[in-house]
Symmetry: D2
Subunit: 344 residues, 4 copies
């Protein structure tokens, strides 16, 4: 096997990520057999070097041995897919989980498949909507042998060395990291690194959001309440908060030349260009698991992670999960005022 | 002057705190002249050893020299009161600010009054509704002479040494702290210590509120959504969250024997006894300044204060001040999903 | 069975907590058989109504049925003790875990013992060194029958209704909470509530520590560095930080009348009275598990708990667990300065 | 005046930023007169279209009216430079502060210079070592007239529209933001936005540092202590923490294709390539003011900013500023253990 070899891959799941991977793979000379519960998604993907399958069994039947199966389905469906594959595959075949599974599940699934001699590789995949063109960053966990066997696929999917200028201090280092993929360690290591990656992403997103919110309040001194009351702390220095700054323009200017320029800032600028006051959004922010798991890994290993955790908690609070605590505080404050006094 | 001397004091402001102080003072043999913008409040206070005044001028006229004026008015009215007193008082008189002024204002007001030879003493006062019976904790700033002159008053207002068992390790220490009042330092030192005191109170309150909120969620595993979706992280171990715990009873039990038993817990238990779900409260928690100032002191002196600051921020967020940031996060997440993709 | 009945209890573990419980129990008319791996501890405990046992087997043999075994050993030894008891006890006997076990272990142990018909009750116990005199706060989980059977013991151990003034708003409520013990729910509920109790305690302790640290820095303006450098942000307003406040005296004064007065403040005042600069302490703060578990419960149920979590992270950081992150920051900052530039 | 006009500028300060700006300006056809307290720095800068000056007076004398003076000196020297320029300049001249001044100082300096008819423009400048090639992001505050007059200079210094792909949702918007510079509002608005920019940068840096620290601890389960003690919480699931992940390779792989790829990640990868364990760094992280000011703006306007604030506090703590608080916690814990007990 050489890293330049053309390979064949079975893709399970043809959502945004799965279909992007297929496009990128066939464009570089690999062949794919594809399956999705949505037959139309299969039909849309079929073409030069892409064969459709209408069942998992048919998908497996269309692959050369050792088979390579790449799972790209929602997290809640991975286990049932692995269970089915355990029945259909043979010793030596390789299952890649390219989704956002919890790394502890990888460890369990690798053990489950190992009982039949099937290999499990976990592959955290980052890239978003641009990945189909610029490539995806891959964080990989599993046994060295199967991971090495998949090298031509990883090399194709990843952005490649030219996608960023070389790291100046990196001299004489081998490894695939500069090509945008990395074998991080044994089973689960890939999703562990991807989990932390997303935790960092949460922190970065929150930093941007908090900063823009501060800028959005920079004109507070112009709206001094007519009369102050005991419940409102008056602004000590209204003259220092007289600005009316366009946050959308700020996000746009930060996209160029600034050290906080990033894909996340690009998204922010785009959203603000479309709706300057973000009126369409309620601000109930979902979280998809990796942030929570990152916090739990920090707590279990006794490592402080205040920034990432604050980002996760802000999302919880945005969905009203702190409301009871807030009511407790209001109730305490109300008690200060004398309810208890009357009863004494 | 002896610490047992009976003294005369002019009280400005007869709200809950001011009227409690007057009661406590006359009960211990001191005499008061009292003033409030609300003539009815004055009328209610007048009695044995309590003379009413209908103007500040009349109040000042009724006091022996050196006059002692105790200001107990809302923070927003202190400066105008000090300005008026500066016109009415004479060198040697003493103005005590017993409210929640910002300590930097004390420094400025002390300088303002010093120009006329009038002394300014800042006195942070804690005790809440129980203070009238058990005494108030006093944190005092100002020049040594005037502070010493007021000693009999402080001794009366404070709870006294018997109000807590002796600190075992405290041997051979002099000072008034065991009696419940302390001269903390020059002008502003009293309100500086009171400011931090309130910052600590914010942190303690938030710790209680967060903890009860966690307990209120201990039954989450019993309400598993019918179908999971990509936006909701399913609870990994629903069996571990099957409890239906009565938070009001928990607050009540913690009042006895527990190391977190405290006046704050008493208030919490009372509020939950009155309204187990705290239905009457919206959970928009006010903050009264000291918490903010504590954070700013921490930041200016480069001292980490994550707990106190988190407590302050939870209050800000409870009032919706983080909503724009949350919308930015939702907007970013929406962009992930492909709005930007379509336009590319 | 009546709540006034004298009962017999087998105590396993005679450390500070175990021996305090035994003293309190026999003082109220109960009888104890006691065991500890340390034979001297057993010898010290033996006396009126206290019989010693030199093995677990002997302890079990000395108890009337249904036997009540109270485990008060370090968390790491609970499982092996339960395993041994599972061999020695009979159906209907009751094992109480009075230590700081993780509530999920309670659930597993209850299931383990239920296989033999033995009951498991988890009992979070708070009270510290004062508990022997003033009673312990008990948070209890388990089946209603066995918990009700133990009622006379709980009533004796708890502080009793008179230990705090009645909650004014509590009218017509039944229940044992006002006596200082509470059946919180099924297996694990007691230790769940105790876990959160300790999380709150962490938050309260940190609030006090942070506040005193701010006060300890209140004189920073008096020590302005001779020359400023680009790496040091100069204090903008040194005049506002000229105080030299005695933190030990502040802690002492807060013990009386203040709304933050508490047992935790008592401990703080005592420590500062013994060593004003706390010289004997390195400041590497341990954490004993409940704080971490509280954070994990918050994260798993999606509830924000910023204050409690900050308190836990401050402890992690105090032990150097954030050092690598700090080095990463320093390294980034160093890179700003031009290392990368030279290589470009 | 046209935006394509060649202009003349006087640069004060020829450090890394100042000299980069000069190179960029002359490369685009502008002319500079330059001054620095270090005569050698002046000598190094002189060349085609760059004239050196040995005093501020000489610099001012060499400029056409209305003069444009660009101050690029350490924050601590800006005020004295402005004071000198106030004496040397004439009405209509423009002073640009391109450093990291506090925005409130801009407001004061603008008022100071306005007394002589001199204009003050504040210009936050971001770009780091790459700016000389790719341009700098400029955040500008001041009166519309002078800001418009400087447009050709800003256009040259900024990266230009081609430096990033267009924001898809931005249709029909005018303005200079897509070119990388923005007039944010009146005096101080530029440095206000730059201040928040740096606050966001602090948050992003901390998110990366925390994440890498978690990865660095992923092997903790392999180093279980021989014997557990009461002070150490044992890892509940050592099998989940068996990884030995190369953090430097992780930083490198995240540079390509990942949504957290950024200049900050580039710096991190470079630092780890040079010294994988970052041995040369003590981890005492400095902070340069903007982070603190961002937190204070958040607190003053009542806006939650938990992530940015946590990042600032982590830096304070890294320098030992939390040590006294940690000692207080250790002391409390020690008191739990019975010091107080002995004295009771």
């Amino acid at each position: 096997m050489t890293t330049d070899a053309s390979m064949q891959l079975g893709m399970i799941g043809l959502g945004r990520m799965g279909s992007s991977l297929v496009k990128r793979l066939v464009a570089d000379g690999h062949r794919c057999v594809v399956y999705d519960v949505d037959a139309e998604a299969v039909a849309r993907s079929v073409g030069q070097d892409v064969v459709g399958a209408s069942t998992l069994q048919e998908l497996v039947g269309g692959l050369e041995r050792p088979r390579v199966l790449w799972i790209m389905v929602p997290a809640g469906l991975v286990q049932s897919t692995v269970d089915e594959l355990a029945e259909l595959l043979d010793a030596g075949d390789i299952v890649v989980d390219g989704g956002n599974s919890y790394y502890r599940d990888d460890i369990a699934r690798a053990a489950q498949l190992a009982e039949k001699g099937i290999h499990h590789v976990d592959c955290g995949t980052s890239g978003g909507v641009w990945g189909v063109d610029r490539g995806f960053c891959l964080m990989i966990g599993g046994e060295p042998g199967p991971v090495a066997h998949l090298n031509p696929l990883f090399r194709t999917i990843a952005p490649g060395e030219a996608s960023a200028h070389p790291t100046p201090g990196r001299t004489g280092s081998a490894g695939t990291a500069p090509q945008g993929y990395l074998h991080c360690g044994p089973s689960g290591a890939g999703h562990f690194v991807k989990m932390v990656h997303n935790g960092i992403e949460y922190g970065m997103m929150a930093a941007i959001a908090e900063g823009l919110n501060i800028i959005a309040h920079a004109g507070m001194g112009r709206h001094v309440p007519a009369a102050s009351d005991a419940e409102t702390t008056p602004l000590r220095d209204p003259a220092a908060y007289q600005y009316d700054i366009d946050v959308g323009e700020v996000a746009e200017v930060w996209r160029r030349g600034s050290v906080i320029g990033s894909w996340l800032m690009d998204l922010t600028a785009d959203a603000l260009a479309r709706a300057p006051a973000l009126d369409g959004f309620a601000g109930h922010v979902s979280d998809s698991g990796e942030g929570r798991w990152t916090v739990m890994a920090a707590v279990e290993t006794g490592v402080p992670a205040a920034v990432i955790t604050s980002a996760v908690y802000e999302r919880f609070a945005s969905r009203g999960e702190g409301d009871f605590a807030d009511k407790v505080l209001s109730a305490m404050r109300s008690e200060f005022g004398g309810h208890a006094e009357k009863a004494d």
